[in-house]
């Protein structure tokens, strides 16, 4: 009996080859997308789950005034937490920074984490060699990740005790961390004891400062219910101590679970770039939509094919088959088909994963456990039942009399169902088309909008304050170098320091501004245009910014401000020149007046998702004075790699242990949009697939409908209808449905996109053309799909269809 079920299922599959193949391919695409996105979503949610204590670990973030939360906290916070709050079992600090590694002949720029000794009690990485209990004990210990170990020693084993010179000091390898296959939010850099970090500080006193935020603090709290109360207590404690030392009025903390930090893209200064929880949700929704589309195809075609199956039902009923037996037969057929589709889908996913991993910059593997196989099996059965139950019950309910009269195919409810399903499919497709159009346009806009600086032909080199003056003299002699400068921050990176500007006639009016200390030639090197006034110049001795801590009023230095600040102060670029403004007054520094000598155009720091803050630029006399961090070199357009090699030679000639690590400004710029780019391309891919599934479904239904109407088409032709008229008739039956689908879907898309666009500071106006395009596009898709069939049917010779009586 069971065997017969399978045989009949196979024969039916084989008999309706076209329909079955269309159903199958729709299901394959739907299920493959679903599996792929689920893998991705699981991956995104699995960050940090490898750590044994992950559930009890929290990151302490600070919120000061109305600013976004930040992960950077004072160095002393962890000590304060463990000694003053009983519910906090333990705390640890992780700071990051750049180091120069000298090995054999080379000097390499590396990133490093500086961690407390109990680091591995929080983050229990598996070590290939070394002992987690002692690895961080010695001040010169060094722990490598597998890849870094291979980079320096060409192997990952037997290197305990090997030496590397880091920032001029010898370190001994005490452990090698094994590469983990589940993702986490710890950068794969060198790991050094936190003492090494203290030695980089300008003064040891900074370790004790409440307003110097230089480390990420993690705490272990095993009582989850205490978090709310603890947040309040720690906030108050922190607020009391931080208040006097900075200009912020409120200081709060957030205690954030370690498992949540990857998908938190609001908090700044995370150790690794975050993912996006919104996108993960959107992709889950899309994966369900595509699966629904695939189920709809199946249901639609099955009920359409019911006419042919109708006779089958009549005969079986006459032979004494019960309704339940028929339902079983049809459900088994549906489940078998989905099982087959799932199998093919898994293979497809396996093949598509490498491309997907490259696109999304992740490492997802398809592994088969008992659980995942059971899930897949469940998925197949579930989809089979969802997609197959309507046709099963519909078919088993047919009365043989109806079948003989040929009333099945035109049954009102069947037609209505098929039509609503088409509306649903095209609604989803139109929705996705509008969404991805608008997302693409907005992203395009943000990337291409004027950034206020010229990112071509500039390289950014990290550090180098000690050698900068000598370097500049030699560098500008190079025929391909236009200019070079140093600054505290550069476009594409955040402005780290802030200051308060007050109009000198209204001292109580505090304007928070970003501050970028620079050396000469900054504006020329970055191509930031002066709107009025003059650049900093050696010809004027008072340009250099110097705060006089003994007599604040005696501080000197000229200011260049950006246009936003000029506007905020109520001046045109010309009016701002020679005006005096007052700085300082935050915390323990006094007020001091400075003259504005120029207004420059607004330029983006970080990226265009962030608003341009009002900015001041001050001149650092010597690079070390105002801790300038980045060297920038502008080359002539089309310079060769050799010029950069030449720069490296000059650099290393001045300091042999300082790595010349450079990035093109254009690369830094694109990197700041990497997440958006990835997600936009993923959205595009899935929109395309959703459209493909929809088109496949429509194709199947149109093929079926047309097949049903071949005779009618022939008759009409004999009566004088032209081929064009017939095509129009065949295509037209779907166009009102497609229009209806758009009418339903587009308002939904409108409201969602309005909110999404409102989240951007720099945004396009709602592009109504996207809605028009999507409506047009879905009509065209429908027309083309149906036309393929219609043309064939309508241009066939009428005798062929009429003679088969």
């Amino acid at each position: 009996m069971v065997k017969l079920l399978f045989i009949v299922a196979w024969r039916n599959f084989y008999r309706d080859k076209l329909t079955s193949l269309i159903q199958l391919s729709g299901l394959v695409i739907g299920i493959a997308c679903f599996i792929l996105i689920q893998l991705y979503v699981d991956h995104q949610k699995s960050f940090n789950s490898q750590f044994t204590a992950a559930k009890d670990i929290y990151r302490i973030n600070l919120i000061r005034d109305e600013n976004k939360p930040q992960a950077a906290t004072p160095l002393r916070l962890s000590k304060e937490l463990t000694s003053n709050f009983q519910q906090i079992n333990d705390a640890t600090r992780v700071s990051d920074g750049g180091v120069s590694v000298k090995h054999l002949q080379g000097v390499y720029a590396e990133k490093s984490l500086f961690v407390d000794r109990n680091y591995f009690e929080f983050f229990d990485f598996e070590l290939i060699e070394g002992d987690v209990l002692t690895a961080l004990n010695a001040p010169d210990s060094l722990i490598l990740h597998e890849d870094t170990a291979v980079k320096y020693f060409s192997r990952s084993q037997g290197i305990i005790g090997k030496r590397l010179t880091i920032n001029g000091k010898e370190h001994q390898v005490t452990g090698v961390i094994k590469k983990s296959n589940t993702p986490h939010t710890m950068p794969l850099t060198l790991v050094l004891p936190i003492e090494s970090y203290f030695s980089l500080l300008p003064s040891q006193a900074w370790q004790e400062r409440w307003n110097y935020n230089a480390t990420v603090t993690f705490a272990k709290i095993d009582n989850e219910s205490a978090i709310d109360n603890l947040t309040r207590l720690v906030s108050d404690y922190y607020d009391q101590r931080a208040k006097g030392s900075s200009s912020f009025k409120t200081n709060r903390v957030v205690i954030e679970p370690l498992l949540d930090i990857y998908l938190d893209n609001v908090t700044t200064y995370s150790l690794t770039p975050p993912g996006s929880a919104v996108m993960v949700t959107i992709f889950s929704v899309i994966s369900f939509m595509i699966l629904v589309l695939a189920c709809v195809n199946f249901t639609n075609l099955s009920t359409a094919a019911a006419m042919r199956r109708g006779k089958d039902v009549g005969v079986r009923k006459a032979l004494g088959a019960s309704k339940n037996q028929l339902i079983t037969q049809y459900l088994v057929e549906a489940i078998l088909l989905t099982a087959l589709a799932t199998l093919i889908a898994v293979l497809t996913v396996k093949l598509a994963l490498p491309a997907f991993n490259t696109l999304m910059n992740v490492e997802i593997n398809l592994t088969f456990s008992l659980l995942s196989s059971a899930q897949l099996f469940g998925l197949a059965i579930f989809v089979g039942i969802v997609a197959g139950s309507y046709p099963a019950f519909y078919l088993s309910n047919l009365s043989p009399a109806h079948v003989l009269k040929g009333l099945v195919a035109t049954s009102k409810s069947g037609v209505l169902l098929r039509q609503s399903l088409i509306v649903l499919q095209f609604g989803i497709a139109a929705f996705l088309v509008v969404t991805s159009l608008i997302v693409n346009w907005q992203m395009q806009y943000v990337k291409n909008m004027p950034q206020g600086f010229d990112r071509e032909n500039v390289i950014i080199v990290s550090r180098g304050a000690d050698i900068f003056n000598a370097f500049k003299i030699q560098a500008v002699r190079h025929p391909d170098v236009i200019s070079t400068t140093m600054s505290h921050t550069v476009p594409t990176k955040p402005t780290r320091t802030s200051n308060i500007v007050r109009p000198s006639n209204d001292i109580t009016n505090e304007i928070w501004v970003g501050s970028n200390p620079v050396s000469f030639d900054f504006f020329q090197t970055f191509g930031i245009k002066l709107l009025s006034g003059r650049d900093f110049s050696k010809a004027y001795t008072n340009d250099v910014y110097e705060e006089n801590k003994n007599d604040w009023q005696a501080s000197t230095g000229k200011l260049i401000i950006n246009q936003s600040l000029a506007t905020t102060l109520g001046w045109s670029p010309e009016e701002a020149i020679d005006q005096m403004v007052t700085l300082g007054g935050g915390g323990d520094d006094g007020l001091h007046n400075h003259q504005i000598i120029a207004v420059v155009e607004d330029s983006h720091y970080i990226n265009a998702k962030n608003a341009i803050p009002p900015m001041i630029y001050v001149l650092s006399g010597q690079p070390q004075d105002l801790s300038l961090r980045w060297t920038a070199i502008r080359f002539k357009a089309g310079t060769s790699l050799q010029s950069i090699k030449d720069m490296e030679q000059v650099w290393l000639g001045l300091n042999g242990s300082l790595a010349f690590k450079y990035d093109w400004l254009t690369d830094l710029f694109s990197a700041s949009y990497r997440n958006e780019n990835q997600q936009t391309s993923l959205l595009n891919v899935f929109t395309f697939l959703a459209i493909a599934v929809t088109a496949i479904g429509l194709f199947g239904l149109a093929a079926f409908n047309t097949q049903r109407r071949v005779k009618e088409i022939a008759v009409r032709k004999v009566l004088g209808a032209s081929t064009a008229q017939l095509c129009f008739m065949l295509v037209n039956q779907f166009s009102s449905l497609v229009v209806l689908a758009n009418v339903i879907a587009l308002p939904v898309a409108y409201f969602l996109m309005r909110d999404w666009l409102n989240g951007f500071i720099y945004r396009i106006d709602m592009p109504y053309s996207a809605y028009l395009l999507s409506a047009l596009f879905s009509l065209i898709i429908a027309y083309v799909t149906v036309m393929v069939i219609a043309v064939k049917a309508a241009s066939a010779k009428p005798v062929d269809s009429l003679s088969c009586e």
């Binding site: 009618e712 008759v715 009566l719 032209s722 008229q725």
Partner: protein, 239 residues
């Protein structure tokens, strides 16, 4: 009206080539009612399809009211068909989703007849075939005879010069058959040229001429006289 000059039409099947019309010459004059008889597979339907330009010919000359059909393009033939020919099929071939009225109106629509005029013509022809009381019905709700009368109405509503009927009574009982045949005879008497394929020799007497085919060739071609008929088909009662 129609001249066939050594017409041939054959079908190339998987293994054998079937000659459906074999070197046939034939003239059909205006006002004739030609009945075609012959055993199954002798080429009757093929001949009718060729006449109606639904099917092409392999060789020979075919002229239709002065047009050299064998030299016409597919498009020109479709136009000729549209302007001059009405079809009646054995299985009626009404469109299920359209009402009686709409079915009849359809060819007028394709002829781009204005709406008012369409209504007038449809009304007229509905009366003519005596089916006006069913005008709003769907074909599925009608008897076979009624459906065929609708099909005839649809074939004549454009006032074609030539009506082609392939076994118009093939699916009907004798009473309905007689009704349909009577209708065709009336149309002929009013001036329409009719070519009809039939399996029933007793229906020959409604026409004016009879053609007997065998294996794609004309076996017999004679005009119908009420007297000769009476002699030939003594058993058959003729109206």
């Amino acid at each position: 009206m129609i001249t066939f000059n050594n017409i041939s039409r054959s079908f190339i099947g998987d293994e054998v080539e079937t000659v459906a019309i074999d070197n046939m010459s034939l003239t059909i004059n205006k006002g004739e009612f030609l009945s075609i008889l012959g055993p199954s597979g002798c080429g009757k339907s093929t001949l009718l399809n060729v006449l109606g330009m639904l099917d092409s010919i392999d060789q020979g000359g075919f002229s239709f009211i002065g047009h050299q059909v064998d030299q016409c393009s597919e498009k020109q033939r479709a136009e000729l068909r549209k302007q001059h020919i009405g079809f009646i099929f054995q299985s009626f071939n009404l469109i299920d989703e359209l009402t009686v009225e709409q079915n009849i109106e359809l060819p007028l629509y394709y002829h781009k007849v204005p709406k008012e005029e369409r209504k007038r013509l449809v009304d007229k022809v509905l009366q003519r075939v005596d089916i006006a009381h069913r005008r709003k019905h769907l074909p599925a709700k009608l008897s076979g005879g009624q459906q065929q009368r609708v099909a005839i109405a649809r074939a004549i509503v454009t006032q074609p010069d030539l009506i082609l009927a392939d076994e118009p009574t093939g699916n009907l009982d004798s009473k309905n058959s007689e009704q349909v045949m009577g209708l065709l005879q009336e149309l002929n008497q009013e001036g329409s040229t009719i070519v009809m394929v039939t399996h029933a020799p007793e229906h020959v007497c409604y026409g004016t001429r009879v053609l007997e085919l065998l294996d794609g060739k004309v076996l017999k071609d004679e005009s119908v006289q009420q007297e000769t008929l009476a002699a030939d088909l003594t058993e058959v009662a003729c109206g």
